[in-house]
Amino acid sequence: MTPTLMFGLELAYWQETIIKVLLGLVALLLLTGGVVYLYLFKFVSFMQSRLGPMEAGPYGSLQLLAEVGKWLQKEDIATEKADRFVFRLAPAIVLASTFVLFAVIPAGPTAVVSDLGTGIYFVLAMSSLSVLGILMAGWASANKYALLGALRAAGQLIAYELPLVLAVVGVVIAAGSLNLQDIVAAQASGEIFGWDGIGNPFILTQIVGFTIFMIAVQAELTQSPFDMPIAESELVAGYQVEYSGIRFLIYFIAEFATAVAFAAIASTLFLGGWALPTAWGLGDGVMHVVGPIVISAKAVLLVGVVFWVRFTLPRFREDQLQTLAWKFLIPISLANIVATGVLKVVF
């Protein structure tokens, strides 16, 4: 394999991948930590006319550190009748399915861990991996509440895979490729009726796809209108009920990392990803630095929308949730695909 040039160093492929994976992990954890602090601690508190944590660090900034420390020193117990092996493995799978998503999300012209030809297809496949982790958790912890939560999660996540996938098909038709870099490029260089001032972010032409995607993301993250699996007022903590200590911390990280991951994917697909419109004439050199900042900003914005909806709306009941998915989201996304296809051919 020809050594690739990175930061002016001669690196073999495996060294380059390790560096990219490490950089990706650091970026992901920093972003997740920032999002948790910004939204879960501060923005939600302002919405509820209170201040949120103020004690740990200036303005409560080290609160997440305190939480992580608290969870780490907590005892990691499993119930006596729990199926030990499956019980311990479950959080790992949920976390794995999240970290794997970041392998494909581009953050700059070359800043992507592995630029797969079928990028978006890989993302959708990996995102459905977390269902397995949740089912294992619910089933193995031998707790009726966990069981109820896991079965609800299974029903819900599978029901919302379809709208998620179908919403993306519209974008793929518009961009003409499955590769995320191409999708980003298509949006950066496209123009709307001849004016390419802001490129052609697919949110404008795919507004239906975007809303369905965001609703499906809300359901994938089991956030409020769809938080049946972790219904605090019914199942107390759903499938996480028997977890404590570091395993609960893994679930916590997984939950917010998935939120950031899906927000990043949504901004790549609909808001133009890391690229600024080519018309602004920023060369590749600049984009190496500006790219990650742009995608982070867009992702943080979309996570804000997810949290805003989460802390305002009551939750659907199980059957209403399924009706919404099967009877409304899927037909509408199919219609959207047909419309995009027809318009693609006409224009």
Partner: protein, 390 residues
Amino acid sequence: MTAVTDRQKLQYIAAKAADSRVNVELETEGMTLNIGPQHPATHGTLRIVARLDGEQVVSAEPIAGYMHRGKEKLCEVRTYPQINTLINRIDWLGSFANEVPFILAAEQLMGIEAPPRAQWIRTMFFEMSRISNLILFLGDMGVQLGAVTPAFYAFRDREFVLNQIERVTGGRFHPNFDRIGGLKDDLPKGWIVDTKAVMERVRDFCDEIEELFMNAEIFSARTRGIGVIPADVAMQYGLSGANARASGIDWDLRRDAPSGLVHPELDWKVWTHPDGDSFARFWVRLQEVREASKMVDQICDGLPSGPIMAKVPRIIKVPAGEAWVSTENPLGEMGYYIVSKGDLTPFRLKIRSASFNNVSITPWLLRGVYVPDIITILASLYFILGDIDR
């Protein structure tokens, strides 16, 4: 196959048994789920044993008694002022409203009438404890359905009402302010002006909650048509207060059987709703908070001057006899049946609390509903554990 030692065999059998036990439990025709006694949806320690078939409830039965303090036995060895402190711990959210029927029953036995100013202030605090009680319900209904934010708005605006009560009585939850023959003290200076401002804030809160919930599709999808109680079943089980009015029963003790308060002199409206489902109960209580805030305003304007306490002997010995007085408490009809033999303590005190009857309908009501609906119905019935267990 290597020689399988006994220990391995035992382990293998044990593992299989563990699996089968788990499977056996799942494949049985139903699962018994214990909701409570420690559970966020029960306002206190109520345990609901629900036999489930999948997500649907085959039969559900609430088990009360985790907070039974034996109030009726305690009251038999306490003098009347001491009982006053006990009974405002029954429905601890609207606690001044607990004291009023007991004091009115004792006054009826003693033939004493509180001076007009005391009656007006008593009615004002009666309505203010209704406001502080039902504001928490409006916020809490959201939490039970999953929207976390309304509860914070409820607690934020409820603090102002509690501060006003504390400025006069000294206690936020347990005012202990009502006396046989009148009240313990009078209002401090400048209190009425602040109360009218607080009532303004209460009405803003009601509009905010209405906007948050009333036309939101998810809320009506989760509450309309859930837990429908027809009027005659409500009467049979003795449902009272907003639960009865939500099933179309036009009955309010403040208007139909005024006992010692000044509600007839105020102009206010009794709200009813024909559906009898969870949405109706929420809606009726929302209107009741608005009516109560208007009433407090009218009382603030028309408060007569005069003494606060009638002539009452220092040592209170209630003459022999029996008396029953019930008033329209925030949770429903609360009444006291005092049997007195003429000495310091009552001979028998029957406390009729609203939530006991309101919750006794749940075995009939919770048949065939989904698990999330159990929580919605319980939240809409709005009981307080102290009220059930006494």
